[in-house]
Protein backbone atom coordinates (compact mmCIF):
# COMPACT_ATOMS: atom_id res chain seq x y z
CA UNK A 1 0.00 0.00 0.00
CA UNK A 2 1.17 3.48 -0.83
CA UNK A 3 2.33 5.60 2.07
CA UNK A 4 0.01 8.35 3.21
CA UNK A 5 1.12 11.88 2.33
CA UNK A 6 1.28 14.67 4.87
CA UNK A 7 1.77 18.29 3.89
CA UNK A 8 3.57 20.27 6.55
CA UNK A 9 3.30 24.07 6.20
CA UNK A 10 5.44 26.14 8.56
CA UNK A 11 7.86 29.02 8.01
CA UNK A 12 10.19 27.58 10.64
CA UNK A 13 12.50 25.42 8.54
CA UNK A 14 14.13 23.68 11.51
CA UNK A 15 10.80 22.77 13.01
CA UNK A 16 9.66 21.35 9.68
CA UNK A 17 12.80 19.28 9.37
CA UNK A 18 12.28 17.75 12.81
CA UNK A 19 8.61 16.99 12.14
CA UNK A 20 9.56 15.44 8.80
CA UNK A 21 11.99 13.08 10.54
CA UNK A 22 9.37 12.24 13.13
CA UNK A 23 6.58 11.47 10.67
CA UNK A 24 8.86 9.65 8.24
CA UNK A 25 9.81 7.33 11.06
CA UNK A 26 6.10 6.39 11.13
CA UNK A 27 6.20 5.66 7.40
CA UNK A 28 4.43 8.76 6.21
CA UNK A 29 5.58 10.66 3.18
CA UNK A 30 6.18 14.25 4.24
CA UNK A 31 6.05 17.21 1.89
CA UNK A 32 7.18 20.60 3.19
CA UNK A 33 6.04 24.13 2.38
CA UNK A 34 7.38 27.23 4.08
CA UNK A 35 4.70 29.81 3.50
CA UNK A 36 0.97 29.98 2.98
CA UNK A 37 1.02 30.35 -0.80
CA UNK A 38 3.43 27.48 -1.31
CA UNK A 39 1.24 25.45 1.03
CA UNK A 40 -1.86 26.05 -1.05
CA UNK A 41 -0.07 25.22 -4.29
CA UNK A 42 1.33 21.99 -2.90
CA UNK A 43 -2.04 21.06 -1.46
CA UNK A 44 -3.37 21.16 -5.04
CA UNK A 45 -0.50 19.42 -6.77
CA UNK A 46 0.42 16.81 -4.14
CA UNK A 47 -3.12 16.01 -2.95
CA UNK A 48 -2.05 15.12 0.59
CA UNK A 49 -4.02 12.91 2.98
CA UNK A 50 -3.54 15.45 5.76
CA UNK A 51 -2.28 19.02 6.19
CA UNK A 52 -0.46 20.39 9.21
CA UNK A 53 -0.70 24.17 9.17
CA UNK A 54 1.22 26.63 11.28
CA UNK A 55 -0.96 29.61 12.11
CA UNK A 56 1.73 32.25 12.46
CA UNK A 57 3.23 32.74 9.04
CA UNK A 58 4.10 35.96 7.25
CA UNK A 59 1.74 37.22 4.55
CA UNK A 60 -0.80 34.43 4.25
CA UNK A 61 -1.34 32.94 7.68
CA UNK A 62 -2.54 29.46 8.57
CA UNK A 63 -6.14 30.48 9.21
CA UNK A 64 -6.41 31.98 5.74
CA UNK A 65 -4.88 28.90 4.13
CA UNK A 66 -7.30 26.70 6.04
CA UNK A 67 -10.31 28.77 4.98
CA UNK A 68 -9.28 28.52 1.32
CA UNK A 69 -8.68 24.76 1.58
CA UNK A 70 -12.06 24.19 3.20
CA UNK A 71 -13.86 26.39 0.66
CA UNK A 72 -12.58 24.36 -2.27
CA UNK A 73 -14.65 21.20 -2.89
CA UNK A 74 -11.50 19.40 -4.09
CA UNK A 75 -9.56 19.91 -0.87
CA UNK A 76 -12.50 20.20 1.52
CA UNK A 77 -12.26 16.65 2.81
CA UNK A 78 -8.54 16.78 3.59
CA UNK A 79 -8.17 16.91 7.37
CA UNK A 80 -6.31 19.97 8.64
CA UNK A 81 -4.42 20.33 11.94
CA UNK A 82 -3.71 23.90 12.99
CA UNK A 83 -0.52 24.58 14.92
CA UNK A 84 0.09 27.74 16.81
CA UNK A 85 2.52 29.19 19.29
CA UNK A 86 0.10 31.93 20.33
CA UNK A 87 -1.37 29.77 22.99
CA UNK A 88 -1.49 29.54 26.72
CA UNK A 89 -3.64 27.73 29.14
CA UNK A 90 -5.54 30.97 29.35
CA UNK A 91 -6.44 31.32 25.71
CA UNK A 92 -6.74 27.74 24.68
CA UNK A 93 -10.51 27.39 24.57
CA UNK A 94 -11.13 30.60 22.76
CA UNK A 95 -8.80 29.60 20.01
CA UNK A 96 -10.05 26.05 19.62
CA UNK A 97 -13.66 27.08 19.67
CA UNK A 98 -13.74 30.32 17.75
CA UNK A 99 -10.98 29.77 15.25
CA UNK A 100 -11.87 26.11 14.81
CA UNK A 101 -15.44 27.03 13.97
CA UNK A 102 -14.42 29.85 11.69
CA UNK A 103 -11.87 27.88 9.72
CA UNK A 104 -13.42 24.44 10.01
CA UNK A 105 -10.03 23.01 10.94
CA UNK A 106 -10.27 19.41 12.11
CA UNK A 107 -7.87 19.67 15.02
CA UNK A 108 -5.82 22.20 16.81
CA UNK A 109 -2.49 21.72 18.55
CA UNK A 110 -0.68 24.25 20.65
CA UNK A 111 3.05 24.63 20.16
CA UNK A 112 5.20 23.41 21.79
CA UNK A 113 3.86 20.09 20.73
CA UNK A 114 5.13 16.85 22.11
CA UNK A 115 6.35 14.42 19.45
CA UNK A 116 4.15 11.57 20.69
CA UNK A 117 1.17 13.87 20.92
CA UNK A 118 1.60 15.05 17.33
CA UNK A 119 1.83 11.50 16.05
CA UNK A 120 -1.23 10.51 18.04
CA UNK A 121 -3.32 13.38 16.67
CA UNK A 122 -2.18 12.68 13.10
CA UNK A 123 -3.07 9.01 13.40
CA UNK A 124 -6.44 9.78 14.93
CA UNK A 125 -7.42 11.97 12.02
CA UNK A 126 -6.13 9.60 9.35
CA UNK A 127 -7.84 6.59 10.89
CA UNK A 128 -11.08 8.52 11.14
CA UNK A 129 -10.95 9.09 7.39
CA UNK A 130 -10.32 5.47 6.33
Amino acid sequence: MKNKKILMVDDDVDFCAAVKLLLESRDYEVILAHDGKEGLEKARTVEPNLVILDVMMPEMNGYDVCVVLKADPKSRSIPVILLTAVDQAIFKTTYTKQMGLMTEADDYIAKPVDSTELVRRVEELLIRRV
Binding site: D14, A18, E24, Q88, A89, I90, K111, S115
Partner: protein, 489 residues
Amino acid sequence: MLSKPNILVVENNIAVLNKITELLTSGSYNVASAETSMEALGIIQKNPGRIDIMLLSLDLPRLGAMPLLETLRKAKSPILVIVMSADCGEEAIEAIHAGAYDCIRKPFTTGRFWVKMNRSIERFHLKRQLESLQKERRIIQGPVSDSMLAILDSMADGLLAADLHGSLVYCNSKAAAALDLMCDEFGRPKQQVIKNKELERLLADTIGQEPDSLPKGHEICLWEVGEKRLRVHIDPVFNRDGELIGVVALLHDVMHISGLNNIKDDFIFMVSHQLKSPLSSMLMQLSVVVDGLAGDLNSKQKDLLSKAKEKTKGMISLVNDLLDFRRIEEGKVLQQIERLDLREILQRTVELMAISAEEKNIAIETHVDTDQPFVTGDRNAIEAVLVNVISNSIKYTPGGGRVAVTIYRSAEDVRIKVVDTGIGIAQADIQRIFDKFYRIRSETTKNIAGSGLGLSIVKRIVDLYKGTIHVESEENKGTTFIISLPAAR
Protein backbone atom coordinates in the same frame (compact mmCIF):
# COMPACT_ATOMS: atom_id res chain seq x y z
CA MET B 1 -28.12 47.48 65.01
CA LEU B 2 -27.38 47.39 68.69
CA SER B 3 -26.47 43.98 69.99
CA LYS B 4 -28.20 42.80 73.13
CA PRO B 5 -25.93 42.73 76.17
CA ASN B 6 -25.06 39.44 77.90
CA ILE B 7 -26.19 39.53 81.50
CA LEU B 8 -24.84 37.66 84.52
CA VAL B 9 -27.15 37.34 87.52
CA VAL B 10 -25.50 36.63 90.90
CA GLU B 11 -28.11 35.79 93.54
CA ASN B 12 -28.20 33.12 96.26
CA ASN B 13 -31.95 33.28 96.70
CA ILE B 14 -33.09 30.73 94.15
CA ALA B 15 -36.62 32.13 93.88
CA VAL B 16 -35.31 35.63 93.10
CA LEU B 17 -32.69 34.22 90.74
CA ASN B 18 -35.33 32.29 88.82
CA LYS B 19 -37.60 35.27 88.57
CA ILE B 20 -34.88 37.56 87.20
CA THR B 21 -33.72 34.91 84.78
CA GLU B 22 -37.26 34.42 83.58
CA LEU B 23 -37.81 38.17 83.08
CA LEU B 24 -34.56 38.66 81.18
CA THR B 25 -35.04 35.57 79.05
CA SER B 26 -38.51 36.78 78.08
CA GLY B 27 -36.84 39.98 76.88
CA SER B 28 -34.54 37.70 74.81
CA TYR B 29 -31.39 38.58 76.68
CA ASN B 30 -28.61 36.05 77.11
CA VAL B 31 -28.49 35.21 80.78
CA ALA B 32 -25.89 33.40 82.88
CA SER B 33 -26.39 32.82 86.58
CA ALA B 34 -24.26 32.23 89.65
CA GLU B 35 -25.13 31.67 93.30
CA THR B 36 -21.86 32.78 94.89
CA SER B 37 -19.32 35.47 94.11
CA MET B 38 -16.66 32.83 93.51
CA GLU B 39 -18.84 31.16 90.93
CA ALA B 40 -19.51 34.55 89.32
CA LEU B 41 -15.80 35.36 89.16
CA GLY B 42 -15.18 32.00 87.55
CA ILE B 43 -17.76 32.70 84.84
CA ILE B 44 -16.31 36.15 84.17
CA GLN B 45 -12.77 34.84 83.92
CA LYS B 46 -13.73 31.97 81.67
CA ASN B 47 -15.56 34.28 79.25
CA PRO B 48 -13.32 37.30 78.94
CA GLY B 49 -15.14 40.22 77.34
CA ARG B 50 -18.39 38.29 77.06
CA ILE B 51 -20.29 39.50 80.11
CA ASP B 52 -21.65 43.03 79.66
CA ILE B 53 -23.93 43.59 82.65
CA MET B 54 -23.93 41.94 86.08
CA LEU B 55 -26.86 41.97 88.50
CA LEU B 56 -25.23 41.41 91.88
CA SER B 57 -27.07 40.66 95.11
CA LEU B 58 -25.55 42.32 98.16
CA ASP B 59 -26.89 39.53 100.39
CA LEU B 60 -24.45 36.89 99.23
CA PRO B 61 -23.07 34.62 101.95
CA ARG B 62 -19.37 34.07 102.60
CA LEU B 63 -17.00 36.20 100.50
CA GLY B 64 -19.95 38.45 99.62
CA ALA B 65 -20.45 41.00 96.91
CA MET B 66 -17.95 43.69 97.94
CA PRO B 67 -14.73 41.68 97.38
CA LEU B 68 -16.04 40.73 93.92
CA LEU B 69 -16.64 44.41 93.11
CA GLU B 70 -13.14 45.24 94.34
CA THR B 71 -11.60 42.50 92.21
CA LEU B 72 -13.43 43.72 89.11
CA ARG B 73 -12.41 47.31 89.76
CA LYS B 74 -8.77 46.37 90.13
CA ALA B 75 -8.92 44.41 86.88
CA LYS B 76 -10.44 47.53 85.20
CA SER B 77 -13.36 45.38 84.15
CA PRO B 78 -15.80 47.13 81.79
CA ILE B 79 -18.76 45.15 83.17
CA LEU B 80 -21.68 47.35 84.17
CA VAL B 81 -22.71 46.28 87.71
CA ILE B 82 -26.15 46.80 89.24
CA VAL B 83 -26.44 45.74 92.85
CA MET B 84 -29.62 44.44 94.44
CA SER B 85 -30.40 44.88 98.11
CA ALA B 86 -33.37 45.06 100.47
CA ASP B 87 -32.95 48.73 101.34
CA CYS B 88 -30.42 50.19 98.88
CA GLY B 89 -28.94 51.80 101.98
CA GLU B 90 -25.40 52.26 103.29
CA GLU B 91 -24.10 49.08 101.74
CA ALA B 92 -25.45 50.01 98.31
CA ILE B 93 -23.84 53.46 98.52
CA GLU B 94 -20.56 51.72 99.32
CA ALA B 95 -21.03 49.44 96.32
CA ILE B 96 -21.68 52.41 94.04
CA HIS B 97 -18.48 53.98 95.37
CA ALA B 98 -16.74 50.75 94.45
CA GLY B 99 -17.91 51.08 90.86
CA ALA B 100 -21.49 49.80 90.74
CA TYR B 101 -23.83 51.83 88.58
CA ASP B 102 -27.17 51.52 90.30
CA CYS B 103 -29.16 49.63 92.93
CA ILE B 104 -32.41 47.72 92.58
CA ARG B 105 -34.46 47.35 95.75
CA LYS B 106 -35.76 43.89 96.62
CA PRO B 107 -38.45 42.71 96.44
CA PHE B 108 -39.38 44.35 93.19
CA THR B 109 -42.33 44.39 90.79
CA THR B 110 -41.84 43.53 87.15
CA GLY B 111 -42.44 47.15 86.24
CA ARG B 112 -39.85 48.51 88.63
CA PHE B 113 -37.31 45.90 87.57
CA TRP B 114 -37.59 46.92 83.92
CA VAL B 115 -37.43 50.64 84.66
CA LYS B 116 -34.07 50.12 86.35
CA MET B 117 -32.92 47.47 83.91
CA ASN B 118 -33.74 49.49 80.78
CA ARG B 119 -31.91 52.47 82.16
CA SER B 120 -28.85 50.32 82.70
CA ILE B 121 -29.07 48.74 79.27
CA GLU B 122 -29.36 52.18 77.71
CA ARG B 123 -26.31 53.22 79.66
CA PHE B 124 -24.49 50.13 78.39
CA HIS B 125 -25.30 51.00 74.78
CA LEU B 126 -24.23 54.60 75.19
CA LYS B 127 -20.96 53.43 76.67
CA ARG B 128 -20.44 51.10 73.73
CA GLN B 129 -21.15 53.82 71.20
CA LEU B 130 -18.86 56.21 72.95
CA GLU B 131 -16.09 53.62 72.98
CA SER B 132 -16.43 52.89 69.30
CA LEU B 133 -16.56 56.58 68.45
CA GLN B 134 -13.43 57.17 70.46
CA LYS B 135 -11.76 54.22 68.78
CA GLU B 136 -12.60 55.53 65.32
CA ARG B 137 -11.45 58.98 66.24
CA ARG B 138 -8.17 57.64 67.46
CA ILE B 139 -6.89 57.22 63.91
CA ILE B 140 -6.40 60.98 63.74
CA GLN B 141 -7.23 62.48 67.08
CA GLY B 142 -4.18 61.15 68.85
CA PRO B 143 -1.39 63.58 69.64
CA VAL B 144 0.27 64.58 66.37
CA SER B 145 3.21 66.89 66.72
CA ASP B 146 3.89 69.79 64.39
CA SER B 147 7.11 68.20 63.26
CA MET B 148 5.27 64.99 62.44
CA LEU B 149 2.83 66.96 60.29
CA ALA B 150 5.76 68.70 58.64
CA ILE B 151 7.38 65.35 57.90
CA LEU B 152 4.20 63.95 56.34
CA ASP B 153 3.74 67.11 54.32
CA SER B 154 7.29 66.99 53.00
CA MET B 155 6.91 63.52 51.54
CA ALA B 156 7.22 63.18 47.81
CA ASP B 157 4.13 60.99 47.77
CA GLY B 158 0.56 61.80 48.61
CA LEU B 159 -0.80 60.32 51.81
CA LEU B 160 -4.37 60.15 52.99
CA ALA B 161 -6.27 58.40 55.73
CA ALA B 162 -9.93 57.62 56.17
CA ASP B 163 -11.93 56.33 59.12
CA LEU B 164 -14.20 53.33 59.19
CA HIS B 165 -17.04 55.26 57.61
CA GLY B 166 -14.87 56.05 54.63
CA SER B 167 -14.69 59.72 55.64
CA LEU B 168 -11.42 61.37 54.93
CA VAL B 169 -9.59 62.31 58.12
CA TYR B 170 -6.16 63.31 56.91
CA CYS B 171 -4.39 64.22 53.73
CA ASN B 172 -1.02 65.76 53.14
CA SER B 173 -0.48 68.56 50.65
CA LYS B 174 0.60 66.25 47.83
CA ALA B 175 -2.53 64.15 48.16
CA ALA B 176 -4.65 67.29 48.38
CA ALA B 177 -3.10 68.60 45.17
CA ALA B 178 -3.43 65.28 43.38
CA LEU B 179 -7.09 64.82 44.22
CA ASP B 180 -8.15 68.48 44.32
CA LEU B 181 -8.98 68.37 48.01
CA MET B 182 -8.98 71.33 50.36
CA CYS B 183 -7.24 70.70 53.67
CA ASP B 184 -6.46 72.88 56.65
CA GLU B 185 -3.00 73.31 58.16
CA PHE B 186 -3.41 70.10 60.17
CA GLY B 187 -4.16 68.09 57.08
CA ARG B 188 -7.84 67.89 57.99
CA PRO B 189 -9.86 67.88 54.83
CA LYS B 190 -12.49 70.62 54.49
CA GLN B 191 -14.81 68.18 52.81
CA GLN B 192 -14.95 64.69 54.14
CA VAL B 193 -16.45 63.05 51.11
CA ILE B 194 -13.99 61.81 48.56
CA LYS B 195 -14.98 62.56 45.01
CA ASN B 196 -13.06 59.69 43.50
CA LYS B 197 -15.42 56.72 43.10
CA GLU B 198 -12.51 54.32 42.77
CA LEU B 199 -11.07 55.39 46.11
CA GLU B 200 -14.44 55.03 47.76
CA ARG B 201 -14.75 51.50 46.48
CA LEU B 202 -11.24 50.58 47.61
CA LEU B 203 -11.83 52.02 51.05
CA ALA B 204 -15.08 50.15 51.37
CA ASP B 205 -13.39 46.91 50.25
CA THR B 206 -10.53 47.26 52.68
CA ILE B 207 -12.82 48.09 55.56
CA GLY B 208 -15.27 45.36 54.71
CA GLN B 209 -12.64 42.64 54.85
CA GLU B 210 -12.86 39.80 57.28
CA PRO B 211 -10.42 40.47 60.09
CA ASP B 212 -8.58 37.16 59.54
CA SER B 213 -8.46 37.21 55.79
CA LEU B 214 -5.13 37.48 54.02
CA PRO B 215 -3.62 39.65 52.78
CA LYS B 216 -4.62 42.50 55.01
CA GLY B 217 -5.51 45.15 52.49
CA HIS B 218 -2.44 46.06 50.56
CA GLU B 219 -4.27 46.81 47.41
CA ILE B 220 -2.37 48.38 44.59
CA CYS B 221 -3.97 49.91 41.58
CA LEU B 222 -3.59 52.67 39.09
CA TRP B 223 -5.77 55.73 38.94
CA GLU B 224 -5.95 58.26 36.27
CA VAL B 225 -7.03 61.53 37.79
CA GLY B 226 -7.21 64.14 35.08
CA GLU B 227 -3.75 64.27 33.58
CA LYS B 228 -2.17 62.41 36.43
CA ARG B 229 -1.45 58.75 36.74
CA LEU B 230 -1.25 57.60 40.33
CA ARG B 231 -0.16 54.30 41.70
CA VAL B 232 -2.20 53.77 44.85
CA HIS B 233 -1.27 51.54 47.72
CA ILE B 234 -4.03 51.01 50.26
CA ASP B 235 -3.51 49.41 53.64
CA PRO B 236 -5.76 48.97 56.63
CA VAL B 237 -4.79 50.77 59.83
CA PHE B 238 -4.89 48.71 62.99
CA ASN B 239 -4.57 50.11 66.50
CA ARG B 240 -2.37 48.54 69.17
CA ASP B 241 -5.14 46.14 70.10
CA GLY B 242 -5.22 44.89 66.54
CA GLU B 243 -8.55 46.51 65.81
CA LEU B 244 -9.23 47.99 62.40
CA ILE B 245 -9.68 51.74 62.76
CA GLY B 246 -9.36 52.97 59.21
CA VAL B 247 -7.32 52.87 56.05
CA VAL B 248 -4.28 54.69 54.78
CA ALA B 249 -3.53 55.31 51.13
CA LEU B 250 -0.24 56.21 49.54
CA LEU B 251 -0.43 57.95 46.18
CA HIS B 252 2.63 57.76 44.01
CA ASP B 253 2.83 59.75 40.82
CA VAL B 254 3.87 57.34 38.09
CA MET B 255 3.44 59.59 35.08
CA HIS B 256 7.15 59.51 34.41
CA ILE B 257 7.62 55.83 35.01
CA SER B 258 4.49 54.61 33.28
CA GLY B 259 6.19 55.32 29.99
CA LEU B 260 9.13 53.19 31.07
CA ASN B 261 6.74 50.54 32.23
CA ASN B 262 5.13 50.34 28.83
CA ILE B 263 8.52 49.90 27.25
CA LYS B 264 9.32 47.13 29.73
CA ASP B 265 6.01 45.39 29.07
CA ASP B 266 6.45 45.61 25.33
CA PHE B 267 9.96 44.31 25.70
CA ILE B 268 8.84 41.30 27.72
CA PHE B 269 6.06 40.63 25.26
CA MET B 270 8.36 40.84 22.29
CA VAL B 271 11.07 38.70 23.85
CA SER B 272 8.52 36.13 24.91
CA HIS B 273 7.15 35.88 21.42
CA GLN B 274 10.53 35.80 19.83
CA LEU B 275 11.61 33.06 22.21
CA LYS B 276 8.57 30.93 21.77
CA SER B 277 8.99 29.79 18.21
CA PRO B 278 12.66 28.83 18.38
CA LEU B 279 12.07 27.08 21.70
CA SER B 280 9.22 25.10 20.18
CA SER B 281 11.49 24.14 17.34
CA MET B 282 14.25 23.11 19.69
CA LEU B 283 11.87 20.99 21.67
CA MET B 284 10.67 19.16 18.60
CA GLN B 285 14.24 18.69 17.35
CA LEU B 286 15.37 17.36 20.70
CA SER B 287 12.34 15.05 20.94
CA VAL B 288 13.08 13.58 17.55
CA VAL B 289 16.73 13.01 18.42
CA VAL B 290 15.95 11.60 21.88
CA ASP B 291 13.40 9.23 20.34
CA GLY B 292 16.24 7.91 18.18
CA LEU B 293 14.63 9.02 14.91
CA ALA B 294 17.84 10.70 13.77
CA GLY B 295 19.99 7.68 14.46
CA ASP B 296 20.84 5.58 17.48
CA LEU B 297 22.05 7.26 20.63
CA ASN B 298 24.18 5.78 23.35
CA SER B 299 22.79 6.08 26.85
CA LYS B 300 25.04 9.00 27.79
CA GLN B 301 23.95 11.01 24.78
CA LYS B 302 20.33 10.17 25.41
CA ASP B 303 20.62 11.22 29.03
CA LEU B 304 22.21 14.57 28.18
CA LEU B 305 19.72 15.39 25.46
CA SER B 306 16.76 14.34 27.64
CA LYS B 307 17.91 16.87 30.21
CA ALA B 308 18.23 19.53 27.54
CA LYS B 309 14.69 18.67 26.46
CA GLU B 310 13.34 19.11 29.99
CA LYS B 311 15.12 22.44 30.34
CA THR B 312 13.64 23.60 27.06
CA LYS B 313 10.18 22.63 28.30
CA GLY B 314 10.82 24.66 31.44
CA MET B 315 11.78 27.72 29.42
CA ILE B 316 8.67 27.41 27.31
CA SER B 317 6.44 27.30 30.35
CA LEU B 318 8.21 30.36 31.76
CA VAL B 319 7.51 32.21 28.53
CA ASN B 320 3.89 31.08 28.63
CA ASP B 321 3.51 32.26 32.20
CA LEU B 322 4.99 35.64 31.34
CA LEU B 323 2.52 36.03 28.52
CA ASP B 324 -0.35 34.95 30.78
CA PHE B 325 0.78 37.48 33.33
CA ARG B 326 0.70 40.24 30.82
CA ARG B 327 -2.82 39.30 29.85
CA ILE B 328 -3.91 39.55 33.46
CA GLU B 329 -2.30 42.93 33.85
CA GLU B 330 -4.00 44.14 30.73
CA GLY B 331 -7.29 43.08 32.26
CA LYS B 332 -7.88 40.53 29.53
CA VAL B 333 -8.99 37.95 32.07
CA LEU B 334 -12.16 39.95 32.70
CA GLN B 335 -13.17 40.28 29.11
CA GLN B 336 -15.93 37.82 28.48
CA ILE B 337 -17.96 37.34 31.59
CA GLU B 338 -20.33 34.43 31.42
CA ARG B 339 -21.90 31.78 33.62
CA LEU B 340 -19.47 28.91 33.93
CA ASP B 341 -19.94 25.31 34.99
CA LEU B 342 -16.96 24.36 37.14
CA ARG B 343 -17.80 20.68 36.74
CA GLU B 344 -17.17 20.93 33.01
CA ILE B 345 -14.05 23.09 33.40
CA LEU B 346 -12.63 20.69 35.98
CA GLN B 347 -13.20 17.76 33.66
CA ARG B 348 -11.40 19.45 30.80
CA THR B 349 -8.54 20.53 33.03
CA VAL B 350 -8.03 17.03 34.33
CA GLU B 351 -7.98 15.70 30.78
CA LEU B 352 -5.30 18.26 30.00
CA MET B 353 -3.27 17.14 33.02
CA ALA B 354 -3.72 13.43 32.41
CA ILE B 355 -0.46 12.97 30.51
CA SER B 356 1.80 14.70 33.02
CA ALA B 357 0.05 12.93 35.91
CA GLU B 358 0.38 9.56 34.21
CA GLU B 359 4.08 10.13 33.54
CA LYS B 360 4.61 10.59 37.27
CA ASN B 361 2.15 7.85 38.23
CA ILE B 362 -0.05 10.23 40.17
CA ALA B 363 -3.75 9.51 40.53
CA ILE B 364 -6.12 12.44 40.04
CA GLU B 365 -9.51 12.11 41.71
CA THR B 366 -12.37 14.51 41.19
CA HIS B 367 -15.59 14.96 43.13
CA VAL B 368 -18.34 17.45 42.51
CA ASP B 369 -20.46 17.61 45.65
CA THR B 370 -23.01 20.14 44.47
CA ASP B 371 -25.49 20.50 41.67
CA GLN B 372 -24.82 24.25 41.62
CA PRO B 373 -21.13 24.44 40.65
CA PHE B 374 -21.63 27.74 38.81
CA VAL B 375 -19.55 30.90 38.91
CA THR B 376 -19.54 33.98 36.71
CA GLY B 377 -16.29 34.90 35.04
CA ASP B 378 -14.10 34.78 32.00
CA ARG B 379 -13.73 31.17 30.92
CA ASN B 380 -10.05 31.50 30.13
CA ALA B 381 -9.27 33.04 33.47
CA ILE B 382 -11.15 30.47 35.50
CA GLU B 383 -9.54 27.70 33.47
CA ALA B 384 -6.14 29.20 34.17
CA VAL B 385 -6.90 29.07 37.90
CA LEU B 386 -7.71 25.37 37.79
CA VAL B 387 -4.88 24.48 35.42
CA ASN B 388 -2.27 26.28 37.49
CA VAL B 389 -3.34 25.07 40.90
CA ILE B 390 -3.76 21.44 39.83
CA SER B 391 -0.53 21.34 37.83
CA ASN B 392 1.22 22.87 40.82
CA SER B 393 -0.01 20.02 42.99
CA ILE B 394 1.07 17.42 40.45
CA LYS B 395 4.47 19.08 40.19
CA TYR B 396 5.14 18.97 43.92
CA THR B 397 3.76 15.50 44.55
CA PRO B 398 6.22 12.61 44.32
CA GLY B 399 5.45 9.66 42.03
CA GLY B 400 2.79 7.26 43.28
CA GLY B 401 0.96 10.08 45.05
CA ARG B 402 -2.54 11.40 44.77
CA VAL B 403 -4.20 14.69 43.92
CA ALA B 404 -7.89 15.03 44.84
CA VAL B 405 -10.02 17.90 43.60
CA THR B 406 -13.42 18.57 45.16
CA ILE B 407 -15.93 21.19 44.14
CA TYR B 408 -18.54 22.10 46.73
CA ARG B 409 -20.75 24.92 47.91
CA SER B 410 -20.26 26.91 51.06
CA ALA B 411 -22.96 29.53 51.62
CA GLU B 412 -22.60 32.07 48.81
CA ASP B 413 -19.35 30.59 47.52
CA VAL B 414 -18.31 27.79 45.26
CA ARG B 415 -15.16 26.19 46.57
CA ILE B 416 -12.46 24.26 44.80
CA LYS B 417 -10.41 22.14 47.15
CA VAL B 418 -7.19 20.60 45.86
CA VAL B 419 -5.54 18.13 48.21
CA ASP B 420 -2.23 16.49 47.36
CA THR B 421 0.10 14.04 49.03
CA GLY B 422 3.09 16.15 48.06
CA ILE B 423 6.19 17.48 49.71
CA GLY B 424 4.27 20.23 51.52
CA ILE B 425 5.24 23.80 52.25
CA ALA B 426 7.05 25.05 55.35
CA GLN B 427 4.98 27.50 57.42
CA ALA B 428 7.49 30.27 56.74
CA ASP B 429 7.05 29.86 53.00
CA ILE B 430 3.24 29.75 52.89
CA GLN B 431 2.98 33.53 53.03
CA ARG B 432 5.18 33.91 50.02
CA ILE B 433 4.13 31.22 47.56
CA PHE B 434 1.81 33.66 45.76
CA ASP B 435 4.58 36.20 45.20
CA LYS B 436 5.68 36.74 41.63
CA PHE B 437 8.72 34.60 40.81
CA TYR B 438 8.91 33.15 44.33
CA ARG B 439 10.07 29.57 44.42
CA ILE B 440 10.95 27.51 47.42
CA ARG B 441 14.59 26.47 47.28
CA SER B 442 15.38 23.18 48.90
CA GLU B 443 16.91 19.79 48.18
CA THR B 444 13.52 18.39 47.19
CA THR B 445 12.51 21.24 44.90
CA LYS B 446 15.77 21.88 43.11
CA ASN B 447 14.94 19.41 40.36
CA ILE B 448 11.41 20.67 39.82
CA ALA B 449 11.14 23.08 36.94
CA GLY B 450 8.90 26.09 37.29
CA SER B 451 8.74 29.80 36.68
CA GLY B 452 7.38 30.82 40.06
CA LEU B 453 4.50 32.52 38.28
CA GLY B 454 1.78 29.86 38.32
CA LEU B 455 0.38 30.51 41.79
CA SER B 456 0.72 34.27 41.49
CA ILE B 457 -1.38 34.03 38.34
CA VAL B 458 -3.96 32.07 40.34
CA LYS B 459 -3.89 34.62 43.14
CA ARG B 460 -4.29 37.60 40.84
CA ILE B 461 -7.23 36.11 39.02
CA VAL B 462 -8.94 35.00 42.24
CA ASP B 463 -8.43 38.49 43.69
CA LEU B 464 -9.93 40.08 40.59
CA TYR B 465 -13.02 37.93 41.08
CA LYS B 466 -13.26 38.83 44.78
CA GLY B 467 -12.47 35.28 45.81
CA THR B 468 -10.08 33.94 48.40
CA ILE B 469 -7.39 31.28 48.59
CA HIS B 470 -6.67 29.35 51.71
CA VAL B 471 -3.60 27.13 52.08
CA GLU B 472 -2.89 24.44 54.63
CA SER B 473 0.23 22.38 54.47
CA GLU B 474 2.33 19.95 56.36
CA GLU B 475 5.83 19.19 55.21
CA ASN B 476 6.24 15.74 53.68
CA LYS B 477 2.52 15.09 54.11
CA GLY B 478 0.88 17.32 51.56
CA THR B 479 -0.84 20.57 50.80
CA THR B 480 -4.45 21.66 50.56
CA PHE B 481 -5.55 24.66 48.54
CA ILE B 482 -9.10 25.93 48.98
CA ILE B 483 -10.22 28.51 46.46
CA SER B 484 -13.52 30.27 47.11
CA LEU B 485 -15.24 32.10 44.31
CA PRO B 486 -18.58 33.88 44.60
CA ALA B 487 -21.29 31.59 43.24
CA ALA B 488 -23.23 32.67 40.17
CA ARG B 489 -26.63 34.08 41.06
